[in-house]
Symmetry: C2
Subunit: 180 residues, 2 copies
Amino acid sequence: MELNEKTIAKTTIYNGKIIDLEVHDIALPNGQTSKRELVKHNGAVAVCAITPNNKIILVKQFRKPIENTLLEIPAGKLELNEDRTSAAQRELEEETGYIADDLQLITEMYGSPGFTNEKISIYFADNLRIGEMNLDDDEFVELHELSIEEATTKLQNGEITDAKTIIAIQYLLLNYNHSK
Amino acid sequence: MELNEKTIAKTTIYNGKIIDLEVHDIALPNGQTSKRELVKHNGAVAVCAITPNNKIILVKQFRKPIENTLLEIPAGKLELNEDRTSAAQRELEEETGYIADDLQLITEMYGSPGFTNEKISIYFADNLRIGEMNLDDDEFVELHELSIEEATTKLQNGEITDAKTIIAIQYLLLNYNHSK
């Protein structure tokens, strides 16, 4: 079945710091036309990091779009032409002060593929060593280290609602021996 | 720790069919100012639905932002003032032809809380009965019914990258007796 949508015309509405907005006129598989609103994003990385005493590191930060704080695994945007693994190591150290020498890719995810191309690569890391925190000027975060049981409870009672963080906790429950 | 960011001024850049774009000047917790780009979305629902022969229903559709098709659980946007559970039942029947009389909430998720308020409620449903497919005029989808093992393989080899779908499959692996 032909599913592709071809762009006939494209209007750039906005070029921003983190996102750009385009509206495309498209040809549908049946030949008719429609419009698609596209939010372009450079991509992001996130790290499911386990401390030496077997806790998952979460950061609490205010998320302006939802006017509330969220508990999330450490994450950040890719810099221009930055390698995803290096970006994950950089973001982990900047936000938490931990260095991960060895990262394993858990999965790549699209959070809202209906309107944005943002792709987040989620990594697993343990065997952390101490580095140096270094937050962006406009970044304010609170560190929380939770046992996997505590994180699971927060997922079940709705205190954790960030998609990459839900995926990371489920991954630990399925793949990580957290009783060790 | 004070984390809130207060809006000082707001500019609406775009009012669209599915999203609006606003740029806010904000006061940071330390009193300095910055900007936030916010994509407003009315919210969405998704259904992890299991057929009578124990398969998960996925829809393959072209996602213009990533210029590719994705395999996803059935999902759709909330209509104005629509109840989330009713929306999930409506979207499931429209996209797959199955009716779910009883839905259980798995979780709510924010896919990209750094720049959008889109919240997706993910439901579980089995005991489906046959209804009637009814796609939107600009919606073209291909139905795939996969065993949970087949879906897990596609997750592991990177063929499934949609966040709500990853969460649904991992939920089944953790909570659903798929050998029955």
